[in-house]
Symmetry: C2
Subunit: 317 residues, 2 copies
């Protein structure tokens, strides 16, 4: 919790675009410095996968568990203190166990899958889980339609989770596809949340496979462009390295520059201000030359205080 | 394990009709005194229920867990030492938690449900679970088709599990239906196993809602009648009381006599020999008068030795 002297920021309605672990640090800061109801989070669902017949939405769960205060703090995903008895049983039945599913976490997947089977939408499931876990921010999947992220690699075509978790991001990425994105529809509230926010924040998530799928949903990128002045993107690459995950490697493999400038080029059409870490201030001029504003703010968030500081600074830019 | 001096009984192929907890005591005895491969078990699936989108087959699991040596010995169902973290999570999401689902046990339900969703049969799932748990007897569901047992009661129409578990068998039973039984087909191997067994044993299960659903599958009762001389039924009512569960109460509510004689009347058309406990020897003459043989054997099985003794005695009749 923030110290008592910190005042909540009022009068802003913030919409954030988010992947999973990288985004959640900043989201937790925003959640604490804002009135939590003033925060709407549009979450990547390209990572979603069906395993053992269960619909798993990793980024939705990471964001929700984080804001609920139950996330495993060491891993940044899953539930703190969870056990893995069911997964061990599934492995005993010869089922894949490369994707970690804790027992408590399984309840989320079972509940979500049951709601979908009953004909409810993914956004209904996200809302049910959010409410049950006591999270006060709005959490919206980018779409109720499946838009699986597919990695074309030197090992062939892989579902994103197989690339990331099973193959530990080792295959060389040749292309990324968001299957079905053309015909997907933004979930109810997504476009409105971008249109009506006082500011839109792009969290420091992988530009290609966390923010990329959200941008691929018809209407999202166009709506962001219409709000470009109010879009603030936090660069997930600091000093040429990912804050989290394989962003740097994937950017390089796909021919993008794995730097803040590379991210700026990817986001330039819809981002008014790119927030970069002081480590990258040498690239500020090149980014500004693209036609974006640059804000230099410490972006490496290790402590709760750093998360709140970046969140507050972002809202006061 | 049986003492070394006990010889396995050879040269018999036994088919047993079974419900859950009551049957499993005798099945364990049979499994130990026979070569385990010589035992085929046809299991009631009228108790099956879909909860949280998962297909749960309580009697199949009780039988399989018992023979695998992993059943919770105090309860007679579930897995020894199981935890209930997922169930607690499901309850937190507002889902029904009246049906106990352990974490390790959930792996079975998830695996079975995933196989069914992939287009496999219930019997394929039973076989996969049996093999993975190292059980050497054949375990066959009575049918691959759903045949849910429906209880018409003074509280209205209830799925059997809601009557038994949620409402603790308290409603007054007015009628029992096996929904869809007319069009169900016996699972592959079921009729053959009755036809080809050297003996058929009806386990001491509830005649109405454990053995009854099996008998309702087209062809089963007829095939049993054709083998009547070789059918040995162990009476589940001893001294007018159920060995396990609400058999006595249900028999009485439906106008049957809740005694060994009442069971004899229900089984007379297909049972050559009714096995009754010494406590009921006073009813032997009345049962014999129906045209059945009576064998008097101690039928209350509290110890492993008693289970083996009854099993051995049954095979030596």
């Amino acid at each position: 919790m923030p110290p008592a002297k910190e005042q909540k920021i009022r009068g802003q309605n913030i919409t954030a675009l988010a992947g999973g672990v990288g985004a959640s640090k900043l989201l937790l800061g925003l959640y604490e410095v804002l009135e939590p109801e003033a925060l709407t989070i549009i979450v990547n669902t390209g990572d979603d996968i069906v395993l053992h017949g269960l619909k798993i939405s990793p980024d939705l769960d990471i964001v929700t568990y984080t804001l609920a205060g139950i996330v495993d703090p060491a891993k940044g995903w899953g539930i703190r203190g969870d056990t893995f008895h069911a997964l061990k049983g599934l492995a005993g039945y010869g089922r894949a166990d490369w994707f970690n599913l804790g027992d408590r976490d399984l309840a989320t997947h079972i509940h979500r899958s049951a709601l979908l089977e009953e004909g409810r939408r993914l956004s209904d499931a996200a809302e049910s889980i959010r409410a049950a876990l006591g999270v006060k921010a709005r959490i919206l999947p980018m779409s109720d339609n499946p838009v699986p992220t597919i990695i074309e690699s030197d090992e062939g075509t892989l579902h994103f989770q197989k690339y990331l978790v099973k193959r530990r991001a080792e295959p060389i990425v040749k292309a990324i596809r968001f299957a079905g994105a053309e015909s997907a529809r933004a979930a109810s509230g997504v476009l409105e949340a971008i249109r009506e926010a006082t500011r839109i924040i792009v969290c420091p998530s992988n530009p290609l496979i966390s923010i990329g799928p959200i941008l691929a949903v018809p209407g999202v990128r166009e709506q962001l462009r219409a709000r470009r002045t109010d879009v603030f993107a936090v660069c997930p690459i600091v000093g040429g390295k990912s804050l989290k995950g394989p962003s740097d490697k994937m950017l390089a493999q796909l021919g993008y520059e794995a730097t803040a400038l590379g991210v700026a080029r990817l986001y330039n059409d819809f981002t008014g201000t790119l927030v970069i870490d002081p480590a990258d201030k040498g690239r500020a001029a090149a980014i500004t030359a693209l036609g974006m504003k640059v804000a230099i703010l410490p972006s490496v968030m290790k402590t709760q205080a750093q998360k709140r500081q970046l969140a507050r600074a972002l809202l006061e830019l």
